[in-house]
């Protein structure tokens, strides 16, 4: 029961914080002088990206813990973080090009950060797909954890490979440093928005975790019933 109350409080806080973030984006933060109104997408895009990376870090940690302890709760945590992480990454990959087309003049460029995000999306889609095709819950958890660990080890290698590859082949579009001359009101908005998305991540993650636990309980009950029926007949 206490857990329910904590969730309700968190979801109430999320509602308020999200409204506040949106209000700040449109009424408090100034309109960017060169990009205009389209720059506002960054208050969604950047917090989504940061929290997606957080999700994949949780997948790595939980997978590692699962292999060490074989406790199913770590597997439930890993899959919940992976799903929310993939959802956030999908939104990052959609909001990015919407911004890039009017500002850079192109939808997509194979820049280090873009490519890394896309490759991460592919790795964790593979992770989620793998889970669908293994029947036994323990086997599923073990195999998924193997991908969860190996996939994350790949992240720095992908990043350095693509960054070096880019510096050798310069692009027409060059992004300035993110904080270069950022207006303090813009920075404040970005931080409030980041907090709002962190809370959104937490709420979604906890809901997904509760669902995963319900599913596991249901599987256990079904298995017990089948076992009992087998004993009786």
């Amino acid at each position: 029961m206490r857990r329910r109350i904590a969730d309700i409080v968190a979801e109430g806080a999320l509602f308020v914080l999200m409204l506040m973030a949106i209000a700040m984006m449109f009424f408090y933060a100034p309109i960017e002088s060169e990009m205009g109104i389209v720059q506002k997408i960054f208050y969604f895009h950047v917090p989504l990206a940061w929290n997606a990376f957080l999700g994949f870090a949780i997948v790595f940690f939980a997978s590692f813990r699962y292999l060490a302890t074989r406790d199913p709760k770590w597997d439930a945590r890993a899959v919940s973080a992976a799903e929310v992480g993939v959802l956030f990454t999908t939104l990052v990959l959609i909001t990015g090009p919407i911004w890039a087309k009017p500002v850079w003049g192109i939808w997509w460029t194979w820049d280090a950060r873009l490519t890394l995000t896309f490759v991460l999306w592919l790795i964790y889609m593979g992770y989620l797909m793998l889970r669908r095709y293994v029947e036994s819950p323990e086997r599923r958890a073990v195999l998924a954890a193997v991908i969860g660990v190996t996939g994350f080890v790949d992240v720095p290698l992908v990043y350095f490979a693509i960054r070096w590859w880019r510096t050798q082949h310069p692009q027409p579009v060059i992004m300035g440093g993110e904080d270069s001359g950022l207006d303090p009101r813009m920075a404040a908005t970005l931080w409030v928005s980041t907090a709002a998305y962190l809370l959104l991540f937490t709420v979604l993650y906890r809901r997904r975790l509760a669902l995963e636990n319900l599913r596991n309980d249901l599987d256990t009950l079904r298995a017990e019933r089948e076992h009992n029926q087998g004993v009786r007949s």
Partner: protein, 224 residues
């Protein structure tokens, strides 16, 4: 039995199977040729700019045909319960991984060597005379990179209902850094760039990292 003896036994077993059937290398070789034919129709490959991209064509063909050979590695163990025997055998799982990994790396390398003449003919590629060592290093390091992750994920995929379909989806994103490194080092050997020392180091780091991680984690895949 210690780890290396286990590895040797598994390697010898896979080599003998491949010598008798030639399934993995044969399929990968024909598939590579087919990819080159498709490239030729999809793009006009006989222009000077395209020749500069030849290394890319080679590794794309190889990345796809390589997953065919890797799939075979553990599909083999599903036949007549051979995989179960491997699990129950009182040997170090890391040794089983090493044996499988050496076999796969060798098959991939042989495939590259067989495909190389066809590639040179089709794309009018010339290896710079003083850079044959770079080509050899590129092939060896690239094969090891694909075999390290590929062997681990082939074992993972063979445990699923999707089997063969899942392997490329898992292997290709994770091997992106290795693929970039392999393309750049081969391009260097073909004279398309002046230096590739960063890429050789990247490939080497990739190989060390993924062989180590796979060795440590393989025991979890090899259980019922």
């Amino acid at each position: 039995m210690n780890m290396l003896r286990t590895a040797g036994t598994v390697l010898w077993k896979d080599l003998r199977i491949e010598l008798r059937t030639r399934d993995a290398i044969g399929a990968a070789f024909v598939f590579s040729l087919l990819t080159m034919v498709i490239f030729n129709f999809a793009l006009d490959t006989n222009t000077p700019e395209m020749r500069r991209l030849a290394a890319g064509f080679f590794w794309v063909a190889f990345a796809f045909s390589g997953t065919l050979a890797l799939n075979r590695s553990f599909a083999l163990e599903k036949e007549s319960g051979a995989g179960r025997a491997l699990i129950f055998a009182p040997v170090d799982p890391a040794g089983v991984y090493l044996g499988k990994f050496f076999a796969n790396a060798l098959f991939l390398l042989i495939t590259q060597l067989v495909v190389l003449p066809a590639f040179i003919v089709f794309f009018d590629a010339t290896v710079v005379a003083s850079r044959w060592w770079a080509l050899a290093a590129s092939f060896v390091l690239g094969s090891v990179a694909f075999a390290s992750v590929g062997t681990l994920f082939s074992a993972v995929a063979s445990n699923t209902r999707m089997r063969e379909l899942l392997l490329p989806l898992l292997v290709l994103p994770v091997t992106v850094p290795a693929l970039i490194g392999a393309v750049e080092t081969t391009a260097f050997a073909l004279g398309a760039s002046d230096s590739a020392s960063f890429w050789f180091r990247l490939l080497l780091v990739y190989d060390v990292v993924f062989v180590t991680v796979s060795l440590l984690i393989f025991e979890f895949v090899l259980e019922e």
